[in-house]
């Protein structure tokens, strides 16, 4: 391919994309894009819960339902049931706010007392905003085409509000897993916290956050 051919092809490809998307509402398009990536991450999370941990999975509802605005756990909304060993059940919900570690220590009730996570796994039967102590797994789905350091700073802050740092112990998921994988986290409560992203550059930021039990997952559709 020569320069002229390459430039012509670039213009054709971008023109085709523009032609398909030009009538989209920008807000709705950005929202839908984020949720398509969240759906892709959900498929990866469920696959891992099944294959690595051996959980049995069920779905309650007709359609998977994402929220444009995050909210509470509501069992009338569609969700997944995760069956662990010894009859312990967990549930997976989308777009949920949890109440923070800081709130539990200060009894504060302002806008800093809760944060959203894209996917959350908690013990069965919880309603409303789960507290940080109830989280078995939280997953952030970062759909950005370019991974930037601000994402790292953000997830470090959320992790701070979820657990205390402590010596490594088996994660809640590993404890309830029929397969008993030896997965540990340096956290109390021993929740797992995964950050999924499509830009491989995110992997360059993975080591330091791993000291706090944050696992970086490069999932590119």
């Amino acid at each position: 391919v020569n320069k002229g051919q390459a430039i012509a092809e670039v213009k054709r490809i971008f023109g085709r994309y523009h032609g398909v998307t030009q009538r989209d509402d920008r807000w709705l398009s950005t929202l839908a894009g984020g949720k398509v990536y969240e759906l892709y991450c959900l498929s990866k999370v469920l696959e891992r819960l099944r294959q690595t941990y051996g959980f049995r999975l069920q779905f309650r509802g007709t359609n998977i339902q994402f929220q444009a605005s995050p909210g509470y756990i509501d069992h009338s909304r569609p969700h997944f049931i995760i069956q662990g060993s010894s009859g312990h059940h967990l549930e997976l919900f989308t777009d949920i706010e949890f109440t923070t570690l800081g709130k539990s220590r200060t009894q504060s009730n302002d806008l800093s007392s809760y944060h959203e996570v894209d996917l959350v796994v908690v013990p069965a039967g919880i309603n409303g905003r789960p507290s940080h102590q109830m989280i078995a797994l939280a997953v952030e789905c970062k759909s950005h085409a370019i991974f930037t350091k601000s994402i790292v700073k953000e997830v470090l802050g959320v992790r701070r509000e979820m657990t205390f740092l402590q010596s490594s112990t088996r994660s809640i998921l590993a404890q309830l897993s029929p397969l008993h994988p030896s997965i540990t986290v340096p956290a109390d409560p021993a929740s797992e916290y995964w950050v999924a992203f499509s830009d491989a550059r995110g992997l360059q930021y993975a080591h330091s956050p791993s000291a706090f039990g944050i696992t970086f997952q490069h999932w590119q559709p």
């Binding site: 391919v1 085709r16 759906l39």
Partner: protein
């Protein structure tokens, strides 16, 4: 193609990205690499590949085949009982009225845009074959 040709191609790609409002993908500072403690700007050749791949990641977000792949994977790992039929976004009624959308937006309605991604990947491959 020589480095000078890639420089011109990079300019065209940046302009196209900016016209689509994708400023962060067009921002050269986002492609700076940290090499042995020194921050270096990529060559024009590397920049072209990185911007095209970043655009592909952006296009994937509105690609119906990604939706279909994810739904297929989810249906497959469910052990028993009903499988989800679709994936929807619930939009607050006050917001949906303003943006002119339904309260429930089906992700099945994202674009059939796979052809753009196929073309992008073909272009990347043909440029890579042209390595000096």
């Amino acid at each position: 193609m020589e480095e000078e040709d890639f420089r011109e191609l990079a300019q065209v790609i940046r302009q196209q990205l900016q016209e689509l409002g994708l400023e962060s993908v067009a921002d050269i500072d986002n492609y700076v690499v940290d090499a042995e403690g020194e921050r270096r700007r990529p060559s024009a050749r590397v920049l072209v590949f990185e911007m095209l791949k970043a655009f592909d990641r952006h296009v994937a977000l509105l690609d119906r085949s990604v939706y279909e792949h994810a739904m297929g994977g989810i249906r497959e790992v469910i052990s028993e009982g009903a499988r989800p039929e679709d994936a929807v976004i619930q939009i607050d009624p006050g917001v949906s009225e303003i943006v002119g959308a339904r309260d429930l937006f089906s992700l099945r309605d994202v674009h059939d845009i796979g052809e753009v991604r196929v073309s992008l990947r073909r272009l990347i491959e043909s440029l890579e074959r042209d390595e000096p």
